[in-house]
Amino acid sequence: MTTVSAQRLASIFVEVADTLVEEFDLIDFLHMLTDRTADLVGAAAVGLMLADGRGSLEFMAGSDENVKLLELFQLQTREGPCLEAYRTGQPVVNVDLSAATARWPRFAPRATASGFESVHAFPLRLRAQVIGALNVFGDTKGGDFTGDDVPIVQSLADVAAIALLQERALRRGEALTDQLQGALNSRIVIEQAKGAVAYARGVSVDEAFTRIRGYARKHNRKLTEVAQAIVNDRTTPPELH
């Protein structure tokens, strides 16, 4: 990875600032952030995990949500770069997955089998607290983040943390915990909606997600609201193309 383009970085920060001024859907926002991060650094995939109230990491959003990638995030509840970044509060960068089996005996071989060659993780920090991690997968060999890239990607992780704080600011006097738990439950609703649409339309869960997301965008609705409607109004899942 070469040093990122300052121009593209600036446009991402403008987009982020624009999103944060109004009421926004946190999961939509995190998806946007993972998409933009993947574009910016030329990553094969980018995902984001948040810690629940029990200190366990859960997948929240990814630039890609295929089943294989979700499994890699699931594994990271036990071991892997996200867990390390979360526990230490420090970025994990330029790890060559083919040489990381001793470090992550389950995660590394699975990630390699999925076609990834390098991995990085950046802690989501909010003041003294670490609330999750941003995960970057590369399909070129490790050692590809330059010294300048690390603080830039870390700043994108910091933005994700600020988004949580921002949502909190809208409802003063309440703890970050509420937002985290709310976001984690929204993520579950999205999975339930994926299952409902996949079965009702006879498509894969990956395709179901693409349709739900596309529907939400087309109708300018929040992803979480659309998912909620699909699951609660079960007899008529919306015509998702």
Partner: protein, 241 residues
């Protein structure tokens, strides 16, 4: 990480209570939660989308009054936690809560309640009720009390799902919990719930309960059952009227 869920299940089982019914079981949950969370009282109320609502179990008579009062007045932390689908954590009832719940908060305060923490009982879009934790002193829940409270909420959700009318009581011992399944895929479990909801033409809550009952009856983990559902190898029939 110590298995807090296991510790909490042990604490619940150690409560002196006649065995059998759901209400007795939930009363044990309430009393165990008082001990584990340094609370002055706890209550479990059932609220569902179809309008069922009421107090299910409490640790003591005062908590029962504090729960009932919310239903009488139609305001209070349990309604807010249910509506917003996230915890409501009031560390000082004498503060902003007095305007938020103008009748409930002063009444609870007059009864010695100084802090209240309400946790929604839910799995994604499946909403079952709320766990209220009362304290006779102001102050926030510590990190481990918060983690334990979330565990109590999980245990309560499982009890409500598994011991509803028509479902065979689960065997003693740990639940076939997908979250403890080493290679279990949580996302897949939630996707399976959405699929089964369409198959049985029921609510998402019915679907979650059906999958759990099937796993118990077949003595398999939720993760395995979910995998079969998502793969299309296992289908559920609609309930007969």
């Amino acid at each position: 990480m110590p298995d807090r869920a296991g510790v909490i299940r042990g604490l619940i089982a150690a409560q002196p209570a006649p065995t059998g019914g759901l209400v007795e079981h939930l009363s044990s949950v309430c009393r165990a939660a008082v001990q584990a969370l340094s609370a002055s009282g706890t209550g479990i109320s059932v609220l569902t989308g179809d309008g069922t609502r009421g107090v299910y179990a409490t640790s003591d008579p005062l908590s029962e009054r504090m729960e009932e009062l919310q239903f009488v007045l139609g305001e209070g932390p349990c309604f807010d936690a249910f509506d917003r689908r996230r915890p409501v954590l009031i560390t000082d009832l004498a503060g902003e809560a007095m305007t938020r719940w103008p009748v409930y908060a002063p009444e609870a305060y007059a009864n010695g309640v100084r802090a209240v923490f309400a946790f929604p009982l839910q799995i994604g879009a499946a909403r079952l009720g709320v766990l209220d934790v009362f304290r006779d002193r102001a102050g926030s829940l510590s990190g481990h009390h918060l983690a334990d409270a979330l565990c109590f909420a999980d245990v309560t959700v499982e009890a409500l799902l598994d011991r509803q009318k028509g479902n065979a009581a689960p065997p003693d011992g740990p639940a076939p919990d997908g979250m403890t399944d080493a290679i279990g895929n949580r996302a897949q479990l939630f996707q399976a719930q959405g699929m089964v909801m369409i198959q049985i033409r029921g609510s998402i809550t019915d679907a979650v309960a059906r999958i759990r009952a099937y796993a118990y009856a077949d003595n398999r983990s939720l993760g395995e059952v979910a995998r079969d559902i998502v793969a299309g190898d296992l289908r559920f029939e609609a309930d007969r009227p």
